[in-house]
């Protein structure tokens, strides 16, 4: 028998603080591996955290509605595994928070959030004063300031959004506001555009056997992007805290407009996945996002997000990078356009793809090669 730590997993790379919303099990409950133990709110989504082994829930350290950090121990699970296999009570694991506490006082901010009393709303005096004057309940607001502190603009955002939407959408709105503002102000964006001929895609979609549902444009583009990422390892990277790392796997995200706001869902491990698998996984992930019931791996980092507004009749747009993911591909509508082919003007189903790139991670050449591959794959020029 061993008493093992239940920790908050890394739900998304740039997440430094989450709320443990509710334990779905109580102490003494018998647990099977995979049972959902509790839910956490990452500002982007509600994520269910499953048990990693069979056993009995021995202790709940952080109760419902606790502010917690990734890797923080929130409970104990008594398992049947031999204690020598794990860090048992005789040899307790190092406290990740304490171990990471810096000696340099300037770095205290990074440790500070772990010291915040759970359930206490951190808001600037300026924000509190404004909230009081506007009769806004400050505890319903998600902060965008240092360590998640609620700032004046957060209060203004809530006040201007009125009453429609409810708390969750306000929180997503605030999260989107914060993340896009950080991205736009701190990430040096550059853009690469290409017009892509979708004739081949259209032909293949029409050629699908009857009864099979044709893959969506979004799925086709995700498929092309996944293949291109494998071909151009220089752009299959992550850039976080100033560190550039190549990814060993291919993951592509997709922007999903849920009722509660915009969520970028990850489709991890796309190497070897064919279009039908991608279509199926895309449909499931989209459904989870719209239901606001995401799994931890739905929020994993990725090299690229696909954002398709073609269905709304948008010709072209530029998207804001979702930090720390280094690229986002904005997809416009597929529409018949005159193009010159072999010195003859012909009509082809065309779409404008606009790639936003984090210049800290990726150079123009890499981005151009990557987008060129995406185009050739879509146009049938590369037979993968």
């Amino acid at each position: 028998m061993a008493l093992e730590d239940i920790v908050i997993p890394q739900v998304g790379e740039a997440v430094d603080e989450v709320t443990l919303i509710e334990w779905l099990k109580t102490v003494g409950d018998s647990i099977s591996e995979g049972d959902v133990l509790f839910e956490v709110d990452t500002e982007k989504a509600i994520v269910e955290i499953p048990a990693f082994a069979d056993g009995t829930l021995a202790e709940i350290i952080c109760g419902d509605n606790s502010l917690v950090m990734p890797l923080q121990v929130v409970g104990k699970l008594e398992t049947a595994r031999a204690s020598s296999d794990s860090a048992g009570q005789d040899n307790p694991p190092a406290d990740p928070v304490l171990d990471q506490r810096p000696s340099h006082p300037e770095d205290l901010a990074t440790a500070r959030s772990s010291l915040a009393p759970s359930g206490k709303t951190a808001a600037s005096p300026r924000a509190r004063q404004l909230a009081r004057s506007m009769s806004v309940d400050i505890t319903t607001i998600t902060g965008s300031g240092r360590d998640g502190m609620i700032t004046e603009s957060d209060v203004q955002g809530v006040a201007s959004s009125g009453t429609d939407g409810g708390e969750a959408s306000r929180e997503i709105r605030a999260a989107v506001a914060r993340r896009t503002a950080i991205s736009k102000s701190t990430v040096p964006h550059f853009y690469v555009e290409m017009d892509v001929d979708f004739s081949t895609v259209e032909e293949r979609r029409k050629a699908m056997p009857p009864g099979n549902r044709a893959p969506t444009i979004t799925a086709v583009i995700i498929d092309a992007c996944a293949q291109a990422l494998s071909l151009v390892p220089d752009v299959n990277v992550s850039f976080h805290d100033g560190e550039l790392e190549r990814r060993s796997t291919v993951a592509v995200g997709v922007s999903v407009a849920s009722e509660r706001g915009l969520i970028n869902v990850t489709l991890p491990n796309l190497s070897g996945a064919d279009i039908s698998e991608i279509s199926a996984r895309l449909a499931e992930a989209t459904a989870r996002a719209r239901a606001f019931q995401l799994r931890p791996d739905d929020l994993e980092p990725k090299s690229l997000v696909v954002s398709n507004l073609g269905m709304y009749g948008v010709d072209a747009f530029t998207a804001i990078i979702d930090v720390p993911d280094p690229m986002i591909l904005a997809v416009g509508r597929v529409v018949p356009r005159p193009v010159v082919s072999d010195d003859v003007v012909v009509i082809r189903p065309m779409a404008r793809l606009t790639l936003s790139v984090d210049h800290r991670a990726i150079d123009g050449e890499g981005a151009a090669i990557f987008l060129g591959h995406v185009r050739r794959i879509l146009e049938g020029g590369i037979d993968v």
């Binding site: 006082p105 005096p125 240092r146 102000s185 701190t186």
Partner: protein, 336 residues
């Protein structure tokens, strides 16, 4: 203003002292090795112009000649005491803290001590005993005025005000900012500048100067840290972050009103101070803003200071102790 009069701080100080000595017979300067200009060439050429009675080269007797400055000031002279390194003033701390700063008060206003100390301050690669931030060491002493100029324009105008002050003044200049011949001059682009001519030009104490206007965050910095902050502000402007940089210019008296007015506008405050983290002007200002301007704050106050260590010698270690542009930028980003 003549474009050719682009001066360094030590040149501005020299002009100020010369003009004051020509204006007022009671002004004289004393200190170690000042016959050859002193450590930072503050008095270069003064012995020839004014003679040994007004340019007094002293033995290595800091308590003795600082006390003499106090006594001469009591009797109507206006001594300027030049220090090779401000650090050496600490050996005469009793004369500064117990005598110069208090005689007016404990005599019920019977005597005044108009006395100026010219003090090279801050870290400059010389290890622990030649790197004190004197403005921090003496900050909490009532009765002293403390001046920390960052530009030649300010240095000249403030020095003339210091000589004319009726109080003891610690005039602290960062060792990297003098621009003395043969010495390292940091941030030459912002630490040299145009300086007006003429003895009517003075800058009053207790008036901060907004060195760069901005709307998103208020940075208050002095001495070398002012120039580092200006550099950071310039870089952040390219990202659309608008930083207001305020130079308090004098720490005692301190222009708190200007800082609070700026914080009212920006909602955010970063204090950059080369002194150690404990004590000093930035701790005081943080407390004052928390008391008097709390409701303007939209983020925690950030302080960027040196670490609480003696100053190490190795260049890499000194850099680790003293706030860098990266430290300043990170502090701003934490609350933007």
């Amino acid at each position: 203003m003549d474009e050719s009069r682009n001066l360094t701080i030590v040149q501005g100080l020299r002009e100020a002292l010369r003009e004051e000595m020509l204006r007022d017979e009671s002004v004289f300067v004393m200190g170690e090795d000042i016959g050859i200009g002193g450590s930072f060439l503050f008095t270069l050429g003064f012995l020839d112009e004014f003679g040994p009675e007004r340019v007094m080269n002293t033995p290595i007797s800091e308590v003795g000649f600082v006390g003499m400055g106090v006594g001469a000031a009591i009797e109507g002279m206006r001594p300027v005491i030049d220090f090779q390194y401000g650090d050496f003033l600490i050996t005469a701390a009793d004369q500064v803290i117990q005598q110069a700063a208090k005689l007016r008060y404990m005599s019920g206003g019977q005597v005044e001590v108009p006395l100026v100390f010219q003090l090279p301050t801050g870290a400059s690669g010389r290890g622990a005993q030649h790197s004190n931030s004197l403005e921090t060491v003496f900050f909490g002493v009532p009765g002293l005025e403390i001046v920390t100029p960052s530009s030649p324009y300010d240095a000249k105008g403030l020095f003339k005000s210091a000589v004319r002050s009726q109080n003891p003044v610690l005039f602290c200049v960062h060792k990297h900012l003098y621009g003395s011949r043969g010495r390292n001059l940091a941030h030459r682009d912002t630490s040299t500048g145009l300086v007006p001519d003429g003895e009517d030009y003075t800058i009053p104490f207790g008036v901060a100067d907004i060195k760069r206007a901005g709307t998103d965050v208020t940075v208050v910095a002095n001495l070398l840290m002012l120039h580092r902050s200006l550099k950071v502000a310039s870089g952040l402007a390219d990202e659309g972050i608008s930083v207001e940089v305020i130079d308090p210019r004098t720490l005692v008296p301190f222009d708190l009103d200007s800082v609070i007015a700026s914080v009212e506008k920006t909602g955010r405050l970063v204090l950059v101070d080369e002194g150690p983290r404990k004590g000093g002007w930035s701790a005081h200002v943080a407390a004052e803003v928390a008391e008097k301007g709390l409701m303007y704050l939209d983020a925690p106050i950030e302080r960027v200071t040196s670490l609480d260590t003696p100053m190490p010698y190795a260049p890499g270690l000194e850099e680790a102790v003293v706030p860098s542009t990266d430290d300043i930028e990170a502090a701003i980003r934490r609350i933007i």
